[in-house]
Point group: C2
Chain length 223, copies 2
């Protein structure tokens, strides 16, 4: 059986879980405490980061975008990138935006500080400057999502794509800790409600972490 090493609050692990769901591919999910740098896991991925996907044929894949591109190339039905090269480039631009710009500016400053900083070896207190910065920056990103969806059905164009997945998995981690100001960004909220109702997204809404219950609206499709 295909095996995914992941962590429930890692947005990049979530990205691969949604891609596997969209492609209707079965997999066994194993939670990896990647910050412990377990030798057997580092042997699979020298960066000791999740996600890592081990295929039935033994191929080991790391890096969420590399895994997503691979799965999209191997399983061509239900494509997650547009066929036209310029539209594919636009989708990949947005994948980069959410996986790097949004992650560095927002997710890492909130989920990283509030959750992973405590789980890791430091056990240190969250950095309040970074948390404040993230709360100010998330608004521009939510506005941008709203701006895009007023012009397009989905973030990168007419079809649901890896761009939507990339944005939604970041927001879903933040939503798990109650940090998304949805009410002030109705267009982004409408788009997220549409992503949330996809079957591929359901397993994420059932995630739970010991001692860290999500807010009630987290799993609610009509939030």
């Amino acid at each position: 059986m295909r095996t995914l090493y992941h962590h429930p609050l890692c947005p990049f692990s979530r990205l691969v879980r949604v891609v596997l769901g969209e492609k209707k591919l079965e997999f066994e999910a194993r939670i990896e405490k990647f910050w412990e740098a377990r030798p057997e896991f580092v042997a699979l991925n020298p960066s000791s980061e999740v996600p890592v996907l081990v295929e039935d044929n033994g191929v080991v894949l790391a890096d969420a975008i590399a895994i997503a591109e691979y799965l999209n190339e191997i399983h061509r039905e239900l494509p997650l990138l547009p066929a036209d090269p310029a539209l594919r480039a636009e989708a990949r631009r947005l994948v980069g935006w959410f996986c790097h710009k949004f992650y560095n500016e927002v997710t890492d400053n909130l989920v990283g500080q509030k959750v992973f900083r405590r789980l890791g070896s430091h056990h240190s207190e969250p950095d309040s400057t970074r948390i404040r910065l993230a709360f100010s920056l998330i608004r521009a990103h939510l506005d941008y999502i709203g701006w895009l969806t007023e012009r397009r059905s989905w973030l990168a164009g007419a079809a649901f794509s890896l761009a939507d997945i990339s944005a939604a998995v970041q927001l879903s981690c933040l939503d798990f800790i109650g940090d998304v100001p949805w009410d002030e960004h109705p267009a982004a909220k409408d788009w997220y409600a549409r992503v949330k109702s996809r079957p591929s997204f359901r397993p994420l809404l059932a995630d739970h972490l010991p001692g860290l219950p999500p807010p009630r609206h987290y799993a609610d499709l009509d939030f």
Copy 2:
């Protein structure tokens, strides 16, 4: 004429310059002071980041990896990713490693602190903690490059690829400010000498910035 908005010490701009060079595609290069967020430039790329490529047909492309994938899809001769999907995934894993992990841990802490922090609106002094951190982390990355090239001709396998370009452009920016401890990492140095001798890399070696001359060995193929 195809136009590239770039900055000489931006590794991601350099990545696209090398890809254009490998594909033998002509372009007009315009230096963009992206930190000034010029309205005409923000209209091309809302993140106000370089590189941005404007194709002859008016297509506007942003995000270095999206641009590189686009150019590699459109101009299929001299491919920059392996044909086999699993090997492509390995190349893309390394692209992610160098464009994000290496950039965040090393390039941003050195070039970002020493060069761009002064150019931007802050004009603030470099953060010495981040500089020390980068100097300690760069060694593991150079060791990793050495480890890979002892097992493979190029970083991702038998052929020169986007993985080599992604790593070399980060190192070339650091080399411009004299911050690569080449002598302690001979295997990485041998690999970089091979990249440096490629015609696509030559324009980068001729770069100059007012008031910031590179060290003598920067442009030397036998450094």
